[in-house]
Symmetry: C2
Subunit: 344 residues, 2 copies
Amino acid sequence: MKYVTIIDIARELGISKSTVSRALAGDAQNVKPETMKLVCETARRMGYQRNETAVNLRRQLSKTIGIVIPEAITSFFMNFIQCAQRDLRAQGYRTIIAVSNEDIVQERECLQMLEQCRVDGILMCVCHSEANSKMFRNVMSRGIPIVFFDRHVRDTAASQVHLDDVTASVFMVEKLIRSGCRYIVHLLGPAHIGNAADRLHGYREVLEKFNLPYNPQYVVEGGLSAEEGARAMERFIQTGLHFDAVFGFTETAVLGAKSVLQRMHFRIPEDVSLCCMSGTALCTLVHPTLSAAHQPTEEMAHTATRLLLEQLAHPDQFKPQTVVLPGEVMLRESTKPLPTLETV
Amino acid sequence: MKYVTIIDIARELGISKSTVSRALAGDAQNVKPETMKLVCETARRMGYQRNETAVNLRRQLSKTIGIVIPEAITSFFMNFIQCAQRDLRAQGYRTIIAVSNEDIVQERECLQMLEQCRVDGILMCVCHSEANSKMFRNVMSRGIPIVFFDRHVRDTAASQVHLDDVTASVFMVEKLIRSGCRYIVHLLGPAHIGNAADRLHGYREVLEKFNLPYNPQYVVEGGLSAEEGARAMERFIQTGLHFDAVFGFTETAVLGAKSVLQRMHFRIPEDVSLCCMSGTALCTLVHPTLSAAHQPTEEMAHTATRLLLEQLAHPDQFKPQTVVLPGEVMLRESTKPLPTLETV
DNA sequence: AACGGTTGCGGGAACGTTTGCAAAATAACT
DNA sequence: AGTTATTTTGCAAACGTTCCCGCAACCGTT
């Protein structure tokens, strides 16, 4: 039950706790090599484990970074966390994860909890592009830097890193059209997620470029979950409108749509091409494999932690930065192959 | 940068910090109602956020529970964490997540980190059934209770909660046989995961029950990941042995096998039935949907946290307990339907 | 008017560590 | 040997809480 403290070690060796502290900190400037060795050895022998709580209280910082994510189902966030955690641990930071469950009230609670834990900084993926922005400002005004990732945040003085949604969706929808699709359903993301507008924008841009008519009936709220996606698909099918492709805001919703289509014996991709943004490893596990634009998860995590660590290291010369990363589009079995150059 | 402390509040009101502390703690016994209201109001007004670090140092505990998981890809662990987190927060506990990446060295580091953070207890899913058992004993001897979940741990004095692997696999394999399968491949889990033996045991038990021969060539190491599962499937197919079903240790490996089969135009379930243990929501997203025995994730999380909290509340009267939960078998499209009673 | 009981509050030590400053011990010079 | 640098050590304060202990003020009882 009782942990060994530096005082125990000091008593054991008949020296002062200051010296023990310095020795364990490896302060070669101020402690004789022999003493140092002696202290370190007895510390190991006695099973000393430094009390981080005391250190944090003394140092007035926690060496802890909070990570707030909206959900913990998609592997994207899990991968992100793992990457970020690795980078942060390398710099001696712990992490504490908080899940907002796509709920702005829970998101506020998460932030408050992180503040009480005196985190030094926060990596955050918001569940609403503006709902909690005054609270974000509050937190930052208390000197806790926030870096937003993945989802856009409207007018903030913080750094952000996210996908180039417009370019990626333009790329993706263009592929659909070049492969022969003309009637493309878009499963729209929720309005409160900023990226939804960008992805829709990309979709419309391509239609315009190819002189195809934009029909709002082909844009349906697809939600985030597989269930919502499935329901959206069913609703669209009931309209009786002809379609030959589905381009979705996110993977899970499209997978929901996919089940519906397959259950109704649509052939993929012969009858309907399927593709989405925000793809993860899941896309390669389903059948047929799903074409998708992937977030550069690792790069996003590296960039976000780098921005945060830089801000922590030099709070004075901080300039908010928005890093936009290119998505990687992977064409798989769920979309028709592009015509070869010869046939064009 | 500077947080408001109880001393600031005390100074503001011209009273002592003791009173402030008591008032904020809601100690109605020892503080006059008016004082209490006054203090709470000024605290809110001044934006007071209690310093958890100081509290923890003083209280000699951290109100923090560590959760160690082997990976963060499967949604099982994510769901588990979310459930556990909810239960723990309800009791005023924070959680800190550590991922061992299926590596025993990293697992040790995780534990050490948690000790340094002075966690009050640990929920743990081991990556090896015995490799770190002396360290587990060490941690527990220091008074930090551990509850192991999901994966079996050989001879430990700690509480455990896991699936009834034998029964669930018996049930699953029986379904295969009753649906007409005779040549069932088993994708075996890694030897260092205790559950693998139980699941294999269930598989053999059913064969015996139905007087079917046990052929070790039909049992192949399937690993944990989709890649390993795919490779295992390929290797088995190359043996040229006839098979009509695959029963896998885990979902991801079976999904890997599934891609291989589908790419080779095996029809599922007409040519090959597919099913697995450790199913998650993923099973319903793939096509055809995958029959699986599901872990009762929420129940497991509830039970594990309950055991841990009980042990924390009454360390003296602690008796290690092993709770074995029944799995829920879901038959989906990847296995042939059972013959109806009339036809039997 | 003196007493015991309650109520509300303040003083101060403690939790384990770091760190500025001063003191002591050692080394390096005259 | 004496002085000055230099290295090595110890003292004590601080971080923000909690909580034991004691003191005062008030209450009701004899």
